[in-house]
């Protein structure tokens, strides 16, 4: 092949790579643009303060679903954050053994298990034994999704903490556990906080694990042993309904959800970029 042809071929292939990128960005803007146009046009105040209404009756909101999503995330956080961080600590600080290897491996696999399976699992584990759908079950399902994300983030940020810092603490007579709590974890905190924020962004957008754990509800509820509404399940139910006004509410709710999730992601990114000293 002579050089001219090779050169042209090279340019074409590079052009295709540029095109791929443009295509990716095109889809991103298409999806987000759609969301903005259809979501913003249906957005109104009653969405944030009113309860759902039957189809045909104007108005109605998803206030209970917003609160529900927050409550579910809080439950998941209460369970998931400590377990995730502690498991990460075990892997890095105590784990010179097979168990640490297995924890890391299983945690990685767990993070790739389809979330609908986690929903089925929690249904069998909690919903069947409690004999009812509940916010607790939804929160537990979300916490199982959260744990591997936080474990991974903790593991990676603790590995970045130089060993000399630990030794400095030991040399001052600090026991290992106080070294970890007072020096190692705070030193790795920005990475862990980033991980926690991404984990929240992730679980707030989850639908599948909630479908048959926390189910849905048209009422105000903060009770852990009762079904509870969530933004995502509400969107799903409304979007797949035949009523135009419900579909519009689904769009507006999607917009709210996307804003929360993207904001959390951008915050996480910003937090991760903050100056780390190592």
């Amino acid at each position: 092949m002579n050089y001219r042809i090779r050169k042209i071929y090279s340019e074409i292939m590079l052009g295709l790579c540029v095109f791929s990128f443009i295509l990716g960005v095109f889809f991103l803007f298409w999806i987000l643009g759609d969301l903005f146009i259809k979501g913003l046009s249906s957005l109104n105040l009653s969405l944030f303060i009113e309860l759902p209404k039957p189809p045909g009756i104007p108005g109605g909101g998803v206030a209970n679903a917003i609160v529900g999503t927050l409550l579910l995330s809080i439950i998941a956080g209460i369970i998931g954050i400590p377990i995730g961080i502690l498991a990460g600590v075990y892997i890095v600080e105590y784990g010179n053994n097979r168990l640490a290897w297995w924890t890391r491996f299983i945690s990685e696999v767990l993070s790739g298990i389809p979330t609908i399976i986690i929903g089925v699992f929690v249904y069998i584990l909690i919903v069947i034994s409690m004999k009812r759908f509940s916010a607790l079950a939804g929160g537990v399902a979300l916490s199982i999704i959260m744990i591997p994300i936080i474990t991974k983030a903790t593991e990676e940020s603790l590995k970045m903490v130089p060993n000399s810092v630990r030794e400095a603490s030991y040399a001052l007579g600090a026991p290992k556990w106080r070294t970890i709590i007072k020096v190692v974890l705070p030193s790795g905190s920005s990475g862990i906080v980033t991980g926690i924020m991404s984990a929240f962004a992730r679980i707030m957008g989850e639908t599948a694990p909630l479908l048959f754990t926390s189910l849905n509800s048209s009422f105000w509820s903060l009770r852990l042993d009762q079904p509870i509404a969530s933004l995502t399940v509400t969107i799903y139910n409304y979007a797949t309904s035949p009523y135009k006004e419900w579909q519009n509410i689904a769009w507006a709710s999607s917009f709210i959800l996307a804003m929360i999730v993207l904001l959390l992601n951008i915050l996480a990114k910003y937090y991760a970029r903050r100056k780390t000293h190592f």
């Binding site: 071929y9 090279s10 292939m13 590079l14 790579c17 540029v18 791929s20 990128f21 990716g24 960005v25 889809f27 999806i31 987000l32 759609d34 969301l35 259809k38 400590p82 377990i83 995730g84 961080i85 502690l86 075990y90 892997i91 600080e93 105590y94 784990g95 168990l99 924890t103 299983i106 945690s107 990685e108 696999v109 767990l110 790739g112 298990i113 389809p114 609908i116 089925v120 249904y123 069998i124 584990l125 744990i147 474990t151 290992k176 556990w177 962004a201 957008g205 989850e206 639908t207 479908l211 048959f212 995502t232 979007a239 797949t240 579909q247 769009w251 999607s254 959800l257 996307a258 990114k269």
Partner: protein, 302 residues
């Protein structure tokens, strides 16, 4: 020895957390297996090879769902994989240095969008376009292939595949980008010094070096496509059919579960749905284990 007590408590708490993770994994497998027993007893191996999924006559088999899962994932990979690699090459090899971070963040945003929103977009925006524009077009020019025969309804395998393709782009491209960036500079310079064009350098040297890593990324993307639920459920049409036509509505494993689980009245129906979940569990477990194998292999090569 007060200090020792603190040490012991803290260490055991971390140990306990590790065990919880492993226990949850074991429990998922165990519970799914136990709950599938009625279905396994009733249908045996036929569950995997028969084509009827009918709650009314209480006859269940997984093939339509497995078929849909595989078809949609294949479409997603065919469309999404090359684009992902192209994006990875663009970001790591072509775009100026100061744009690398922001541009990869934009692509990562694709991965941050909740799947329910992909579903909304797929259902209300993409499906009509498939039905009115793309479907008839493909039918007209490629209608001689079995894949593009029949009347496009908007929802179906093709729509689900396209949505999945977009969803797996961030997964594959971010892993590929990391691996491509890790190829040493000397290798590139060596190739260019031999008189290779930039593309030849990328193709032969960079991708040659990054092969197994990119493959691992592809499998991870596949894993995501296999298990994705909401977006697919909203655009696949939800009907247990096996059809070569990509315009046809169908089912995937996850969409069957999402669609029927709360409405499953019969014990056998529920048990069959849980067996489906068990199958999906095996499939994803296998793909992730495979990915790890390739990543480990890549590390060993270093």
């Amino acid at each position: 020895m007060r200090k020792n007590i603190g040490e012991r408590i803290f260490k055991n708490l971390t140990l306990l957390s590790s065990l919880i993770i492993i226990l949850v994994m074991g429990a998922i497998f165990y519970e799914l297996l136990i709950a599938s027993i009625p279905s396994i007893k009733r249908f045996g191996w036929r569950f995997l090879i028969e084509t009827i999924w009918d709650p009314v006559i209480e006859h269940f088999s997984a093939l339509p769902s497995i078929y849909g899962t595989i078809i949609t994932s294949i479409i997603a990979l065919i469309l999404g994989f090359p684009i992902s690699i192209g994006i990875a090459i663009f970001i790591s090899e072509i775009c100026p240095y100061y744009l690398k971070q922001p541009l990869s963040f934009i692509i990562e945003l694709l991965g941050a969008i909740p799947s329910i929103i992909y579903g909304m977009w797929g259902l209300f925006t993409l499906a009509p376009i498939i039905q009115i524009k793309i479907g008839p077009f493909l039918n007209k020019y490629l209608g001689f292939l079995p894949f593009f025969q029949g009347y496009p309804m908007g929802v179906g395998f093709l729509t689900a595949g396209i949505v999945l393709a977009i969803m797996i782009i961030p997964t594959i491209s971010s892993i590929s980008r990391e691996i491509i960036s890790a190829v040493p500079k000397e290798q590139r310079e060596g190739a260019l010094a031999l008189g290779m064009t930039q593309w030849e350098m990328i193709w032969k040297v960079v991708l040659g070096n990054a092969k197994s890593g990119i493959f691992a990324g592809g499998i991870l993307g596949l894993g995501r496509a296999l298990g994705e639920t909401m977006a697919v459920t909203m655009v696949i049409g939800n009907s247990p059919k096996i059809s070569l036509s990509l315009f046809s509505p169908g089912y995937t494993i996850s969409s069957t579960i999402a669609n029927e689980f709360t409405e499953a009245v019969g014990k056998l129906h529920l048990s069959s749905l849980i067996e489906l979940a068990l199958i999906l569990f095996f499939i994803t477990f296998f793909t992730i284990a495979l990915t790890r194998y390739f990543i480990i292999k890549r590390i060993e090569k270093r």
